[in-house]
């Protein structure tokens, strides 16, 4: 057993459980189920394989009709792991459902995992500060765009969230506008979400965002109209601006009856109004449900027809199409755009974030992408806890809006393999942890709520965790200054350019995913290169020392030379333990040379080999080479390695203690 289960507070244990293979119902593996306060753990009897599922990731628990073998129970997770357990005793099955219902449905924020003591994360992230989330100041991101300037200014009008509790406390608005106008505009907009700056292009065209106006059938607000004029005036290059309503027209019309709606073109001067037609959260939720079923029925011969019926890729296309429209307006026509949907926190967040990503290569770096998510999603109040169902509340609020954004980015990665600093694994892990509740980053629905929950003080940040594993996430093909990635990305949005995201939706189906993962071999190749480069430096140094020894001997000097000082700057590249290093400072010995000499294996095993621990299971788990012996190790194996001689390449040493069984595998 790889992890001490006692430590994890076992509630109960269920014996005689069978796990049915999802691709072949004839294949069943026998094992034990452990229910702890935080995990469901399945341990196979005949192998070392273990499946760990966080309760927070459980999406549905479904009891299927009784079979001869027992009671089947299908557990689906939010990161698309589907497990069908067959439990021999009906009573055990009831216990299971009862415990899961009790523990997997927290109703208060403070019951969530991220607020619990986590010895593992503590060990991993102790050196960093818990409140690292604060490194993303909105001001510094706007400063990067050259703000404030004579056109745009920062306002503290919302410093206590008094005009809009779902916006950040710092807002950027046209410099020429008075507070009174902002205040009135906020009153005229749904939930006070007035038009504010999202992104400023170097050509002066701006991307602003807001919620729908409370116009009803013929309501209007003079100040709101003025605010738009002020926004228009900040851009000297265009005489008009676009107002984009990302909803289908019919939805917007329906809102009119409730006193909401859209801007009347005749009331606002010099605006061009556009409906684009991205469907609402309910349509997206249903579409994902269909997609999951479609991906799950893996033997389904009419997969493509089923895929068509889910309309999922049509929705993804609509989001990218809209973003491309924004990009063309801003970049090609030098024209500002104001974007909204209903409340301006779902479709608006998707399209503004994606348009920024297409416009500015900075957002395609790892750091920039995190800034983008902080800004457009977290600070502008995308309701993560509602949309991801962190708490057991209203199911109708759940919708894969942020997941769709991640998928759009993945589709772009496919089309532009060299344009992004981060890889597919980064997106898959991000997707998982938006739901996992292990980190505080995505808990709550807006900045104000996170402040009230003291997220920064009480929880760990996902960004810090990612930073500690950064080598898993780097795209080895990234070219920061390439012709195709140093400027605007122009994706092909014809339907055949959109692919089914197999490694996410079939992430845990090893029979469906490809056996040889390109990304792993490329990453490994670049790790190998960099560790060999450092190794060659070590060898060069040793050669120089020996030469000096021989030289000095020839000069009839006395032999035992002190080799510290300038010959011996500390060499930190060897992948050996710290204590082995001290002997360098005394004298050079044959043993040392041979230890150094053998510290790296030149021929690393190819990634097609599986980890020495067990069969592949999670497609997103990365493989690494032990630099000493060249063996393949997977990330979940490392923390339990008793094979102490394994060591991953020098600059990866810090990850030797890896997050324990966190990822459901």
């Amino acid at each position: 057993m790889k992890l001490d289960l006692e430590e994890s507070n076992v509630i109960t244990k269920i014996e005689n459980v069978q796990l049915e293979d999802r691709s072949n119902s004839k294949i069943k593996t026998a094992g034990l189920l452990y229910l702890t306060i935080s995990h469901l753990v399945f341990i196979e009897t005949n192998s070392k394989r273990e499946i760990w599922i966080y309760y927070s990731l459980i999406n549905s628990i479904e009891k299927l009709p009784l079979s001869i073998n027992g009671s089947p129970i299908l557990i689906r997770t939010k990161h698309f792991l589907n497990c069908l357990f067959i439990i021999s005793k009906e009573r055990d099955c009831q216990t299971l459902v009862q415990v899961l219902n009790q523990y997997s449905r927290p109703t208060k924020y403070h019951e969530l995992l991220c607020f619990r003591e986590n010895s593992h994360l503590k060990k991993l992230l102790d050196s960093t500060h818990k409140n690292n989330q604060q490194i993303y100041h909105l001001e510094s991101e706007y400063a990067r765009m050259g703000l404030p300037n004579n056109k745009w200014t920062m306002t503290n009008l919302n410093s206590d969230y008094q005009i809009c509790d779902t916006y950040p406390n710092v807002l950027f608005v046209p410099a020429s506008v008075e507070d009174k106008i902002l205040q009135s505009s906020a009153n005229f907009r749904s939930r006070g979400r007035l038009p504010v700056l999202s992104y400023l292009h170097p050509n002066g065209a701006s991307l602003t965002r807001c919620s729908q106006p409370l116009s009803g059938f013929n309501g209007r607000c003079d100040e709101d109209e003025q605010l738009l004029q002020h926004i228009l005036m900040t851009n000297e290059n265009s005489k008009f601006m676009y107002v984009v309503d990302t909803r289908p027209k019919i939805n917007a019309m329906a809102n009119k009856a409730q006193g909401k709606g859209y801007e009347n073109e005749t009331n606002y001067k010099n605006i061009q109004f556009h409906f684009i037609g991205i469907e609402n959260i309910h349509v997206m939720r249903n579409s994902l449900d269909k997609l999951v079923k479609c991906a799950d029925s893996s033997s389904n011969s009419s997969f493509l027809t089923e895929l068509e019926k889910t309309e999922w890729l049509k929705h993804i296309k609509a989001i990218i199409d809209t973003s491309v429209f924004l990009v063309e307006a801003i970049n090609d026509q030098n024209t500002s755009v104001l974007v909204h949907c209903s409340d301006g926190w779902d479709r608006t967040a998707q399209t503004c974030a994606l348009a920024s990503l297409l416009l500015d290569p900075y957002y395609r770096s790892i750091h920039g992408f995190q800034v983008l998510i902080e800004k457009e999603w977290l600070l502008f109040g995308h309701k993560f806890s509602h949309r991801c169902g962190h708490l057991f509340e209203n199911d109708k609020e759940i919708s894969p809006i942020f997941s769709q954004f991640l998928e759009c980015v993945w589709q772009l990665q496919l089309q532009f393999p060299c344009a992004f600093e981060f890889n597919e694994t980064y997106l898959i892990k991000l997707h998982e942890h938006v739901y996992s509740c292990q980190f505080g980053t995505f808990i709550g629905n807006c900045q104000k709520e996170r402040n009230d929950l003291k997220i920064n003080e009480l929880t760990y940040s996902l960004w810090d965790y990612f930073q500690s594993k950064i080598y898993d996430f780097i795209n080895p093909l990234y070219i920061p200054n390439s012709v195709y990635s140093n400027s605007v990305l122009r994706p092909d949005t014809r339907i055949f350019s959109f692919k089914f995201w197999r490694s996410l939706y079939n992430r845990f189906d090893s029979t469906i995913n490809h056996s040889e993962k390109l990304i792993d071999s490329l990453s490994m190749l670049s790790y190998n290169t960099s560790s060999l480069q450092e190794y060659s430096k070590l060898l060069e140094k040793r050669c120089a020392q020996l030469k000096k020894l021989i030289q000095l001997n020839k000069n009839d000097e006395n032999v035992l030379i002190d080799l510290s000082e300038d010959d011996f700057e500390k060499i930190e590249i060897s992948d050996k333990n710290e204590n082995e290093k001290k002997s360098f400072e005394k004298k050079l010995t044959l043993d040392e040379i041979s230890i150094d000499f053998n510290s790296i294996d030149l021929n690393w095993k190819s990634t097609r080999k599986n980890c020495v621990c067990y069969e592949p299971f999670d497609f997103a788990s990365s493989k690494l080479n032990c630099s000493r012996c060249g063996e393949i190790l997977c990330e979940t194996y490392l923390p339990f390695s008793t094979h102490l001689s394994h060591s991953i390449s020098p600059h990866l040493e810090q990850f030797n203690f890896e997050l324990a069984k966190s990822n459901g595998s």
């Binding site: 068509e308 060299c418 012709v483 055949f496 040889e516 020996l546 001997n553 032999v559």
Partner: protein
Amino acid sequence: MDFMDLIEMPRVDNVKVYRQIQNYELNQLVTQKLFGSLNLTSHHLIFITQTDLQKPREEIWIVHSSIDSLEKNVTEAKFQLMIKCKNFQIYFVDFPTAYCCNSIHKSLESLSNLTTENMKLPFFCQTISKINQEDWNFYSIEKSYKRFFPNEDSSEWRISEINNDFKISPSYPKKVIVPKNIDDQALIKSSQFRSMGRFPILSYYHKKTNSFILRSGQPLLGSSNKRCKEDELILKCALPKGKQGYVYDLRDASILKTAVSKGGGYETEVNYPLWKRINKHMDRFDQLHISYSKLIDACINSSTQFFYKLDTSAWFYNIRQALYLSFLIADEIHNKNGCFLIHGWDGLDNTLLISSLAQILLDPESRTLDGFIDLIEKEWLHAGHPFSKRYFKSAFGTTPQKQEGPVFVLFLDCVRQLCEQFCLSFEFNEDFLIMLFDNLYTSEYGTFLGNNQNEREQLLVSSRTVSLWTYVKNEENIKKFINPLYKINDDVIWPSIFTQSLSLWSNLFLRFQINSKPNDEAKKEIVKLVETNLQVKIKVEKLRNELLELQKEAIDAGVLNSENY
């Protein structure tokens, strides 16, 4: 007949040509309009743009045989010809008068449908490079035999030259591998009992388990229920003790009655007691042609219901089925005790597809560039796949005889799916497969001429044309076809056959519609990563040697000791 007889108007001026090209800055398809003159030569349609001070002169060369279909659209105001090429490129040509339009149309119809092998392009392209006999003789059956049976004496198989004059089976090569204790007379008898004289011959021998794949044509049972003792003997002798024989009949069981009534049939259990017959459906080549046309139609008119159209084209069904059947065969051969005889109707199409795919899964050698070329020679060219008939038309065209069927295209697509799933295990890359596709329909090289070895010999292909492998082996060209990440994989590969695991071959089927630049950039980057890695390895190796030498020198000089010493 002379080419000139077919050309009424060798030149037409004031012609407009439209084609879709990719604008890489805008990442959009744009229609490019060109003005100029159109010229017909014996093998090419050449369009030359008018000289203009601003624009340099542009030329478009279209080989006649690369034209798949022509559609004339003549109205009062417009005299247009749509030219659809076999590689999926489409041109629109506007003529100044209806008369020229009609005349050019007529000429192109004839020139692009020439069936006389002797008039085909390779015979007029001897100058592209020197004819190299070695490349024509790249493959030999002796080479295969040696690979399968390194020790000839202990082998139960022999090479028979019974078909030396192509009389027994016109579509078989001169030499074939058969069980050692079957004499040539028995082979002759068996050939009379098999469709197109294609008696059972050895296709692949799996050394690791001593299992094998045979292939043949269907047995000619007929309604009189004929049997052939010699044929039965071949199968009996071939099967070693302890092995289970399987006849893989690539036709649906429901169709067997029809086959019998037409004089064909299947191996009956009574007469072949050691062999278990399994019927597995594969779409026949003519159905596959329909599937292919639907696939390309979906790719070209992709706006609505794209995935649904892809699905109904059945192309993915065929890929899955082909990979699935080869997977089953490989599993039996490698993990169990199965030996196989594969056939369908004549054993010219799906039989070759399945046997060659199974070999790619089983045999690491066939995943190298040379091994793959050997496989194409052995399982397709020498095995008598009718290249000339099957690839006379591509996705847009048909002939009344309906002999087209892109079985080899399906094969290439299956291999590409495998290359994608096993990105480290193949020595050649996707570009190599696309190059093969391009030469399949229209080529300057003689390799894919004719329908079998017999026809190629009669046409004197090897002395009158250049081999495609001469082009491939050229130092400059070969670089383009090598997968930089290739590392030999001695294991059998087990592909995933779920539709999710498969992908549309966009670099081929969408080649004139997608922007390939970002992907080319990534490919270059991969090559760079591999090269840098190699450089640093060489450096480390050098330093290690240097260090060892210095160490020795230091020990000799007595300045270096082991700590424990």
